[in-house]
Symmetry: C2
Subunit: 372 residues, 2 copies
């Protein structure tokens, strides 16, 4: 196991720009349906949001994967749609269908939303953070998170998952001043929310921008980069040492601008990002996190091992947080997760052996990790 | 109007590497539900596939947008799933749901599929091509098309549209030798089909790889680039002068490899591709096609005009086929299409004016357009 009470936690050192040997590992959606112990707890709560708002249960499922697999990080069990819920929008989760919201589609509809209740409404989430932090061992990092404004706005405006994002893009492209008011509200709420998570014990926060892929460049700069930069600045003003990871999934050719212009300390890579490219273009500026395709984890076997080794080879000598390029799929056998973690840790140990001979010393880089 | 019988058609000149002034324009899904005259014809056919296989009706809807708007190209009205249908797989279109196929998920299931019937089964499509070519005016180019093997395989294996592509990726990642047999079958069928379209009168062919975005780099090279290169080589061996456009939608950071390694003459850009980047990285090697976000066309107004002008400014001095980054949305007002075409043509005329003064002569590039 990595780290201990006497040194800074491995994941935090990597976000400072160190190469972790072995790299720290956690998995997006590591607390979730693929674990039988999660499914057992899930039945004890009514709705999915009830589970998010019941601190004892949410803390239990947050800790489950760490207890079973020994990940380097726990990520708060919650949902990106607690923010519209806290703002006053109606949000429901329909079993087998996903989220259903009462859509907000113009400036008039914003009148019903307010950031005034965000802290009180989300107090149970902060209690979850405190419970997890209390029970987490000293070498494991607690990651808080929120949805990034663009992605949260897609759900708020579409009212559900979408194929073409016609409503939200129509508003953003056709009435940018009006849409800006929704995004500003989300920047404010998200900054409050992340700061509260940090004050409750989160040591890193991640912004998920799951639908960053659907915008042309100009719109990406306005609705992905700008609000992210504002949240990073707002959180950092109050908590200057807390690292922030941004995950603009599917940003493709716009990844570089995102890293250069948002101020994040780490960037999540989806599975499409070529790792050799990321090593050259991104890893000198920030820590990178990713990017095994979840299908490799689902399938396991030599395919998974080879794909994981490719990532370690390309990115393992710089600041890397090993992760998937997207969330764990519900049908994933838990044994595959155990094998993946063992492989990442073993590769690290082998590399440490090499490093001790001095052969790889020069490849360990300090990057400054994009602070400030 | 551009061109005439005495010179090579504008769109073909651009695919040869010339800068068209004004650039030629057509729109993906220009024959479709947004046109009332399409909806009128649609009711005359039973199923959607019936419409694709009824030459008189398919030719009529192919010609409708050219007659109404005066595009520089007609694109054959058909569907990428005629290939699995011709191979012997059960394919149905369910109104409001999209395609439903009897899934093919292992090598055993391939036994029911054969390329032997592709030409005879798709003879009505060739008849459509002949009818369209007969009725098309001399300055308009007829584009044939097919789905690229990866994208067609996603439907064949998933059995419908998919959110996570778990089945097709599971097969491709877990049993690449078996999946290669499906892809080889598709390469063979698609080559036969495109050659038949060309022999019936198609002057350009386009390969749509709509789901190219969901693969990691190694898998993209194997299932997107390699089969595309094989089809390009196969078509070119029989029809060396027919230009081929590839559209690997969402290829992001892998666009450059796609252009360098497939041998296509033109590349379709989705709306996310930054146009300044494309001008530098791609347009010196091939003609580029795209990439207005269809939401701008749906909304119309100054937003659309500004977004279109950005594309013309960045890409208009090299080989550019103006298009959308994805298909026309059904709710698009036809008037917006007319306005867009007028704007593209007018900008071209204004630019011609500038050019005649000599000021922009140096920006007109000939590229050789990647001919194999």
């Amino acid at each position: 196991m990595a780290g201990g009470t006497h040194v800074k936690k491995l994941l935090l050192r990597v976000l400072d720009g160190d190469a972790g040997v072995p790299p720290p590992i956690w998995l997006m959606r590591q607390a979730g349906r693929f674990l039988p112990e999660y499914r057992a707890v899930r039945t004890q709560a009514g709705s999915f949001l009830d589970l998010c708002y019941t601190p004892e249960l949410a803390a239990t499922v947050t800790l489950q994967p760490v207890e079973r697999f020994g990940m380097d990080a726990a990520i708060l069990f919650s949902d990106i749609l607690v923010i519209p819920d806290a703002l006053g929008q109606s949000v429901r989760f329909v079993e087998g269908e996903g989220p259903v919201l009462e859509p907000v589609r113009d400036v008039q509809a914003l009148a019903q939303l307010t950031t005034a209740r965000v802290e009180s409404h989300l107090a149970p989430v902060m209690e979850t953070v405190r419970l997890v932090r209390r029970d987490l061992s000293d070498d494991v990092t607690l990651i808080g998170f929120a949805g990034a404004p663009w992605t949260v706005a897609t759900y708020m405006v579409e009212g559900s998952s979408s194929r073409d994002y016609a409503q939200v893009k129509g508003w953003a492209f056709g009435d940018p001043e009006g849409f800006e008011r929704l995004v500003s509200l989300l920047v404010e709420a998200t900054t409050i929310y992340l700061c509260a998570q940090i004050e409750a014990g989160a040591e890193v926060v991640q912004l998920f921008d799951s639908w960053a892929s659907v915008l042309p460049e100009d719109q990406f700069r306005r609705w992905v980069i700008k609000p992210t930069r504002e949240i990073v600045a707002g959180v950092r003003a109050r908590h200057p040492t807390i690292p922030i990871i941004g995950f603009p999934r599917g940003a493709g050719l716009l990844y570089e601008a995102y890293v250069a212009e948002t101020g994040v300390n780490g960037v999540g890579l989806d599975s499409q990002v070529p790792v050799a490219w990321a090593a050259g273009a991104l890893q000198g500026k920030v820590a990178v996190q990713g990017n095994l395709d979840p299908i490799f984890l689902l399938r396991g076997g030599e395919g998974m091992r080879q794909a994981a080794r490719n990532i370690l080879t390309a990115l393992g000598s710089g600041p890397l947080i090993f992760n998937l390029g997207h969330g764990v799929l519900p049908a994933t056998p838990p044994d595959h997760v155990a094998e993946l973690i063992a492989l990442v840790r073993e590769t690290g140990v082998r590399e440490t052996g090499v490093r001790e001979t001095g052969a790889r010393e020069t490849t360990v880089r300090a990057t400054g990790a994009g602070r400030g």
